[in-house]
């Protein structure tokens, strides 16, 4: 009798999750997704890869002759491994808070939109203008026009 915690069950459950997430982006229902959506799919499964990480994964998933699409048969084993090995774990809130505090050099307790924009579009793995705009629209307090980063965390 199968114990629900058996390795098999876990693998099956994991694979079903992967399959569902994949299906959301499989617009033609032919078990392929656009390669540009791979990052979104992986993240939607709870992983926090960096862009560099994604770059490597995609290189592994693409065909020898890149078609712009990734097939499910290739995606499934790669993604299963990522999930089972618990790669790209979430960032803890403490660490994130510290990260914001680092950027807040004057220790104001908040960040100006320009400040954040400067860092996030120039440092690290820079945001595109679109990403920056989206984040600002979600993160900026409309009354004070600053980012009250402490409020993001419990």
């Amino acid at each position: 009798m199968a114990d629900k915690y058996s390795a098999d069950t876990i693998i099956t459950e994991t694979q079903k999750r992967i399959s569902n997430a994949f299906d959301v982006f499989d617009h033609e229902s032919n078990k392929t997704v656009d390669v540009r959506e791979i990052g979104t799919i992986i993240r939607s499964l709870g992983c926090f890869p960096s862009e560099a990480d994604l770059h490597d994964i995609i290189a592994e998933l693409e065909e020898e002759e890149p078609t712009g699409f990734v097939r499910y048969e290739k995606f499934l084993p790669t993604m299963t491994k990522i999930l089972l090995e618990r790669k790209f774990r979430p960032i803890t809130e403490d660490l994130l808070l510290q990260a914001f505090e680092v950027l807040d050099q004057q220790k104001k307790g908040h960040l100006e939109p320009e400040e954040l924009t400067k860092y996030l579009t120039q440092e690290g793995e820079p945001f595109t203008q679109e990403e920056m705009d989206e984040m600002l629209s979600a993160a900026v307090d409309p009354d004070k026009n600053v980012i009250l980063y402490k409020d993001f965390f419990h």
């Binding site: 997430a21 660490l95 979600a138 993160a139």
Partner: protein, 810 residues
């Protein structure tokens, strides 16, 4: 997606989890990783929300088609004395017996007097630009045009349309830019917004409107009147294409019929009849500069513009009713059915609206055959065999065969036309269906569109071939909602244009229109109609739309409770009351037939699990829909009726042939018997009587359809506690980014008096809605910035909640 890294002074310092300083570069990477994860989850939510709305929309459309298949099937199987047959024949009777002159008498408006008290526009014909502009203004101010003028305007329109060709031909000479609009679906605020941004139609400002003016939105008739008025004033500069919703049978289900009957109680019937003719006379396509094709749905691999130019388009009144075939002679049909076998063509089932046969590659959408409905009813082997035999016979032409049988059996006068071979008739019909119903797909080929049940899916190779054959460079079509209002595909050779913003929900999508100058380079303008969406960020829009979609989904789950419970209990043989998530998802897939990513959705639908298992009885309690208070009617029965209320309402409206909004007890009984046959589920006489008694509020032996359907309205309980709970929720839900509430919904039997505003429930997009424009959710999910989404300003129209039309200045 770069790996670009900026050197900072602390580049080489490793960061320390215990709190040593993290270099700015590392901090940036962390934040970027985190945000991208969040954005990805938002994107997934947006996608599956879209999936939910679309799949329910299509499921409902398939319902409609199945219903018609079913009715046609009944016609095939009657014995002459059956009372059901009288009903159906009544419905399908061809009454196109009069000549045009007689129709003009029928539609005459001269004896309609307009009372002095009427303050709306008084039209004089021929119309001029001022009157057209005045009409727009009047509708903006929520006035209603008097039925006399409506009929007059429609008659003039009909006269004009009859002399127009099937293919409108337009040119951008004199450096005129042509503006093209997609689906409007009764959303007047979008049309007003377009006119505001772009100017009204005129000699200098030609417009093409690409179909689907009506249904779903609540101002369909106003949109038509405006478009027709401008057509009459500027016949050389306004072009209207027919959409698949310009079809009176589709209108029965999707709200236009209801809207007209409600707004025009006395003359609505005639108005609808006239519109039926007008729709059939709308041109099919528009071609600009012989280079750009504008058509509502799309094309197929057999689309031939030369053929299109030649058809008698007005013979194709409805997609769900193929044109009458002429028989060389009329014989007793029941003795002579073998004759018709020769006339049955169509080994080729493509484009068969009457028999959505499982073809092709889109396996993800559940294929549903005619009888595949109530899985709880077992069939005997004999019945099973019978069903399959019928299905095998049930081809395109068999539907029209039964139609033919019917009309000849009724000895109605058929128009004295030369007998045509069924081949041509079918061919033309398919061509038109393809134009109005098809959708593009990304891989090559051309397969029947079994999701919609008509038209096909066509691939980039078909586009290429078609454009080359006809020497065109671009296809502009509509028919599909797009989040940004427009979308290119097929290597930018096909453009989908959709002009109804907030189609599924406030904030769900933008609308767009396009301008083409002599260079034929498209210039797009996007917009969103209500002021509610301004200042809402992308995450807020996503959450709000998702909220509605999930509510609709929960309702679906609840109304399938009996079936789901059986499915769960089948798995949970030891009756523990628990079920694991995998099994939960599989059971739902089996029962609901909605192709959705249930495992992705489950956190939103299931509030808690213990040890990875769900207590399903508790889960049903959480879904908490209260049933109507009728102790005598069995719960399963009510659930079934609720689930099929759209179908039920459609049948009612079909039965109500004089469009009075009332049906007799007898017809009501017949309707329910029909439904029970359709669902293969017993609806006993006691149940029917109980329903009749409980809904005959007029006490006059007839049943008001609207009142009856009111009994099935879903009421959001929080609407009753609106005032405090709204604010409280804003405060409670400050955390990013999850939303946690699962609203309780209450089901009421009494017609609701209009209390209003912000918590008017979003009727599921699939239902017959005149109030789909108002879909402000009761519990707007809070954003992390704490910006409040404002209350819906309560501007009431009749008994509807309505988000007031604010045309934001550009």
């Amino acid at each position: 997606m770069g790996c670009g890294v900026t050197k900072t002074s602390e580049f080489n310092r490793k960061f320390d989890k215990d709190g040593n300083v993290i270099p700015a570069m590392k901090a940036a990477v962390l934040i970027q990783r985190w945000y991208r994860q969040y954005a990805a989850r938002m994107e997934v939510r947006r996608r599956y929300t879209w999936n939910i709305f679309q799949s329910m929309e299509y499921a409902d459309l398939q319902d409609q088609i199945k219903l018609y298949n079913f009715l046609g099937y009944l016609m095939d199987n009657f014995t002459p004395s059956s009372t059901e047959r009288n009903l159906i024949s009544h419905i399908f009777r061809e009454n196109e017996v009069c000549r045009d002159a007689e129709w003009e008498r029928y539609f005459s408006y001269n004896n309609i007097t307009v009372p002095d008290i009427y303050s709306g526009p008084r039209l004089t014909f021929p119309l001029d630009m001022d009157q057209a502009a005045h009409l727009v203004e009047a509708f903006k101010n929520k006035q209603q045009l008097h039925s006399r003028y409506v009929l007059q305007l429609l008659l003039e329109t009909w006269k004009l349309l009859r002399v127009l060709p099937n293919i409108n031909r337009v040119s951008t000479c004199h450096s005129k830019e042509i503006t093209i609009c997609g689906d409007l679906h009764g959303q007047l605020e979008d049309l007003l917004l377009i006119f505001y941004k772009n100017g009204m139609p005129s000699l200098e400002k030609p417009y093409v409107f690409n179909g689907d003016y009506v249904d779903r939105g609540k101002d369909s008739i106003e949109i038509l009147l405006i478009l027709f008025a401008f057509l009459l004033v500027f016949p050389g500069d306004v072009y209207l294409n027919r959409g698949n919703h310009e079809d009176h049978i589709i209108n029965l289900r999707y709200g236009f019929t209801k809207e007209v009957l409600n707004k025009y109680k006395l003359h609505g019937k005639r108005i609808l009849k006239l519109l039926q003719k007008i729709f059939s006379w709308l041109p099919l396509v528009t071609v600009i500069d012989q280079r750009v094709l504008i058509v509502h749905g799309g094309i197929s691999d057999t689309t031939d513009l030369a053929l299109i130019a030649r058809v008698d388009r007005h013979r194709y009144v409805s997609a769900l009713r193929p044109p009458k075939k002429k028989t060389p002679s009329r014989t007793n049909v029941y003795a002579d059915s073998e004759r018709y076998d020769e006339m049955i063509i169509c080994k080729n089932r493509r484009g068969s609206l009457t028999f959505p046969k499982p073809f092709g590659a889109r396996e993800s959408f559940q294929r549903r055959s005619l009888q595949d409905f109530s899985s709880t009813v077992a069939r005997t082997l004999g019945e099973e065999f019978e069903v399959r035999r019928r299905q095998a016979e049930f081809s395109l032409s068999s539907f029209s065969k039964s139609h033919r049988i019917l009309s000849s059996a009724l000895s109605s006068d058929s128009e004295p036309e030369s007998s045509e071979f069924t081949d041509t008739g079918n061919d033309e019909w398919k061509q038109i269906l393809d134009l109005l119903w098809s959708d593009p797909m990304s891989h090559d080929g051309c397969i029947p569109n079994e999701v919609r049940g008509g038209g096909c899916y066509w691939g980039p190779d078909v586009t290429e071939g078609f454009l080359n054959r006809h020497n065109l460079q671009l296809i502009i079509r509509s028919h599909e909602c797009k989040q940004d209002g427009y979308e290119f595909c097929h290597n930018r050779k096909v453009l989908t244009l959709f002009s109804a913003s907030n189609y599924y929900e406030v904030g769900s999508n933008r609308g767009a229109f396009v301008r083409l100058g002599p260079d034929l380079v498209p210039y797009f303008v996007q917009y969103q109609a209500t002021s509610m969406t301004r200042g809402l960020s992308f995450p807020q829009n996503v959450k709000r739309t998702e909220h509605t979609a999930l509510k609709v989904l929960r309702e679906q789950l609840f109304v399938h409770k009996s079936d789901l419970l059986s499915a769960f209990q089948e798995i949970d043989k030891e009756n523990t009351g628990l079920i694991c998530l995998n099994d939960w998802a599989s059971a739902i897939e089996r029962v609901l037939h909605l192709d959705l990513p249930w495992r992705v959705l489950h956190p939103q639908l299931v509030s808690s699990t213990t040890d990875g298992k769900l207590d399903y009885h508790g889960w049903f309690r959480d879904l908490a829909l209260k049933k109507p208070s009728s102790e005598h009617i069995e719960q399963t029965m009510l659930e079934t009726l609720y689930r099929h209320r759209s179908t039920l309402e459609t049948i009612f409206r079909i039965v109500d042939t004089d469009n009075s909004g009332l049906i007799t007890f007898e017809d009501f009984r017949q309707t329910l018997k029909l439904l029970s046959a359709y669902l293969k589920m017993e609806i006993s006489d006691e149940v029917i009587n109980e329903l009749v008694i409980s809904t005959d509020t007029n006490n006059d032996g007839s049943i008001d359809i609207d009142e009856f359907m009111e009994a099935f309205r879903l009421v959001d309980k929080s609407r009753l506690e609106r005032g405090k709970s709204l604010l409280k929720l804003m405060q409670d839900n400050q955390s990013l980014p999850q939303e946690t509430e699962s609203p309780q919904t209450v089901y009421s039997t009494a017609p609701q008096t209009s209390q209003c505003p912000a918590s008017q429930p979003a009727d599921p997009p699939v239902s017959n809605t005149t109030d789909s424009a108002c879909s402000q959710t009761a519990n707007p999910p809070a954003s992390q910035t704490g910006s409040l989404t404002e209350d819906c300003p309560a501007s009431q129209t009749e008994d509807l909640c309505h988000i007031s039309v604010v045309v934001p200045p550009q």
